[in-house]
């Protein structure tokens, strides 16, 4: 079975979308450069033309408005930031303008643009290159948020994002870039498209606890689920897929079965999107107090501080598979250290805490 990497999936999504629709253009710092945004835009300028594949000045704010202006005038731009942290410069254009344009002009124009961003991690990304941040835009009606967890999803969601008539924030995680899905974009395009930017998906069945999250969290959740399996806990894993809306049915149907819900989240805990999920589930089940009584809810989000650059510190700045396992065992009131050790032994850890795999050698 052929496999496709996340980066190749993104790249193929660009190619296919651009062939399917002449109005799609790509723009971003480094898009046509030799590193091509981690390879995801490699060769595209040569292949699709200088009039469709652009570098840009360091002007994140205006460029967001420029893409919006182009989007309401017949172009479908994909604007890219190598770190989502840079997109904070364009918050006004995203929130005050792109997200509201369709509503505030009474649906006269739609804004088909994609803002592609990358969450950094490891190798000293430090406080300003490692934030999740999409939770801010999740507070803003009018913009969609796509959070792919696999190469296959990356392809499908990028295609959907480009086709969507609304502004879409597309959020990748740097540590997904090398991951692979079975199959090829060609097959996926034939069989699984079109996809909606909505809806959760059960990606692993289980009966004892529901683990849910977005994007890269799925790696950590599946890792934890595997470890929990070995100590007799069967975890169901739900991929929430998008950030602007919640598929409450899929989620509640899962926890009506498992009675336990844990959400993993890459934001600092203090006001992580995960909390909204818990709150919505609780309110949804409000009429069902007998069920609620038996239920348990936990959020495993990130510590409430920036991520330091030193890997000695940064390794303590993340709550991941191990913390998920610990929290689940606590939910079960299992305090037998032997069980914990047994589970931990099943977790697959990265070769060193600040690199996703042996091939990763920095510097970025």
């Amino acid at each position: 079975m052929p496999k496709t990497s996340f980066i190749d999936a993104i790249r193929q999504a660009f190619i296919d979308a651009m062939i399917a629709d002449e109005s799609v253009v790509l723009i971003g710092e480094g898009v046509p450069d030799p590193k091509a945004i981690f390879g995801s835009t490699a060769g595209l300028q040569a292949r699709l033309g200088e009039e469709r594949v652009f570098d840009m000045p360091l002007s994140e704010n205006a460029l967001t408005g420029i893409c919006l202006g182009a989007a309401v005038n017949g172009i479908k731009p994909v604007l890219m930031h190598q770190r989502i942290d840079f997109s904070l410069l364009s918050m006004d254009q995203m929130v005050n303008h792109a997200a509201k344009w369709h509503a505030m002009f009474n649906a006269q124009q739609s804004v088909p643009m994609v803002i592609r961003t990358i969450i950094g991690k490891g190798w000293g990304q430090g406080p300003q290159h490692s934030q999740a941040l999409w939770g801010m835009l999740a507070q803003v009606p009018g913009i969609k948020i796509a959070l792919p967890a696999t190469a296959k999803q990356a392809y499908l969601m990028m295609r959907s994002a480009i086709e969507d008539p609304n502004p879409v924030l597309f959020v990748e995680h740097r540590w997904l870039h090398h991951t692979e899905s079975e199959g090829t974009p060609e097959e996926w395009a034939k069989t699984v498209l079109p996809q909606k930017l909505a809806g959760a998906e059960i990606v692993r069945e289980g009966k004892d606890i529901t683990l849910a999250g977005w994007g890269y969290s799925l790696v950590e959740l599946l890792n934890a689920a595997q470890a929990l399996e070995k100590v007799g806990i069967s975890a169901e894993v739900v991929d929430l897929r998008v950030g602007h809306t919640l598929d409450i049915e899929t989620l509640t149907s899962s926890i009506l079965k498992t009675h336990k819900l844990l959400i993993h989240d890459l934001h600092p805990e203090q006001m992580a999107p995960a909390h909204s999920v818990i709150s919505k589930v609780v309110q949804t089940l409000a009429d069902n107090s007998e069920v609620l009584k038996d239920m348990q809810f936990q959020v495993v989000a990130q510590p409430n501080h920036p991520v330091p650059t030193s890997w000695h510190l940064a390794k303590f700045a993340y709550s991941e598979a191990e913390q998920i396992v610990i929290t689940v065992l606590e939910m079960y009131q299992i305090d037998d250290l032997g069980v914990l050790e047994k589970a931990k032994a099943q977790i697959s850890y990265p070769p060193r805490p600040d690199i996703p795999n042996q091939a990763f050698k920095g510097p970025f």
């Binding site: 253009v25 009039e51 840009m56 000045p57 002007s59 704010n61 205006a62 460029l63 967001t64 408005g65 420029i66 893409c67 919006l68 202006g69 182009a70 989007a71 309401v72 005038n73 017949g74 172009i75 006004d92 254009q93 005050n96 303008h97 344009w101 369709h102 509503a103 505030m104 002009f105 009474n106 649906a107 006269q108 124009q109 739609s110 804004v111 088909p112 009606p141 009018g142 969609k144 008539p165 609304n166």
Partner: protein, 311 residues
């Protein structure tokens, strides 16, 4: 040319009507009047084709009307009615009339400057023959997004005309409290744009400058920046005069009123009082008719509030 004079008068009388009706408290939204600045809107927009696009800011009425925006829909919008140009979503600060090429105004200062630049980028990418105009104020020029936009426009040689209406104030704050002594158009010039400057109250001075600018733009010679000096007569926001507040040097308003764009052009064009009063009457009639029609509009339906969010 007389048509243009008429258009200035029409805008003036329209704004005066807004001011006089505002006291009724049924236009329940902030309004920023353009009284005193009409020659710019008319001088620029009269030379555009319908398919050319105009983007504007909080002070948009004159631009909207001069570009051919529907007057009835504008009034209805002030009153928050269903027949408003954006169905009650906009008030005075979020206007759009796509048929006329009035492509949008918003009140976040600087917000539409990049958007207009993007519209021009789209025109270039689509090899359209149309161009875009972005109206901005002297205060707006201080927003970083403007500098970023000018750079992008110059880099890509976009078909866009930036029209800076330098009315010397941002709200109550005079230019010299916000910027060092400098010529604004020279900043744009140094950034790489063809730049022009003129007296914005004199239609006869504005017209050839715009003509020149559009010639460059339409022949693919890239963006042009045009600074036009002018002056706002009424208060920044609202229907009243505010000279008593003392934020403008004594006599400044009067000096500018003596250089009223409409008066100036009337003299230059040799329009006599008979002609004037005839045009006044026509204009008055149009405004009153539109006002009446506008108020016949229904109340917008709340149901579409949620459905408007996503396309």
């Amino acid at each position: 040319m007389k048509v243009l004079w008429r258009e200035m008068l029409r805008i003036r009388r329209f704004e005066e009507m807004v001011a006089s009706q505002y006291a009724e408290q049924e236009m329940r939204c902030p309004v920023h009047l353009s009284v005193g600045q009409e020659a710019i809107a008319v001088g620029v927009c009269s030379q555009l084709e319908p398919e050319d696009l105009v983007y504007s800011n909080h002070r948009a009425h004159a631009h909207y009307l001069a570009k051919g925006g529907d007057m009835t829909a504008l009034i209805a919008e002030f009153y928050g009615l269903e027949n408003g140009c954006v169905g009650g979503w906009g008030g005075s600060m979020h206007l759009m009339d796509l048929k006329a090429g009035f492509a949008g105004s918003t009140p976040i200062v600087g917000g539409t400057v990049p958007i207009a630049t993007g519209a021009a980028w789209a025109q270039k990418l689509k090899q359209s023959s149309a161009c875009t105009v972005s109206f901005l104020g002297d205060g707006c020029f201080e927003e970083g997004g403007v500098a970023e936009s000018l750079n992008f426009a110059a880099l890509h040689q976009l078909p866009i005309l930036y029209v800076l209406e330098n009315n010397l104030y941002s709200v109550y704050t005079p230019l010299e409290k916000r910027q060092p002594p400098r010529e604004l158009y020279k900043v744009a010039e140094a950034m790489g744009l063809k730049s022009l400057k003129g007296f914005g109250n004199d239609l006869e001075e504005v017209l050839p400058l715009v003509e020149q600018a559009l010639k460059w733009i339409r022949s693919g010679e890239g963006p042009v920046f045009l600074e036009l000096s002018t002056y706002r007569w009424p208060e920044h926001c609202g229907p009243n005069d505010d000279d008593h507040l003392g934020y403008r040097p004594e006599g400044e308003l009067q000096r500018w009123q003596a250089r009223c764009p409409i008066q100036l052009a009337q003299v230059n064009l040799g329009i006599d009082e008979i002609e004037r009063s005839q045009i006044e009457a026509e204009v008055k009639q149009e405004i009153e008719k539109c006002w009446q029609q506008a108020l016949e509009g229904g109340i917008p339906k709340a149901e579409n509030m949620e459905t408007n969010v996503y396309a």
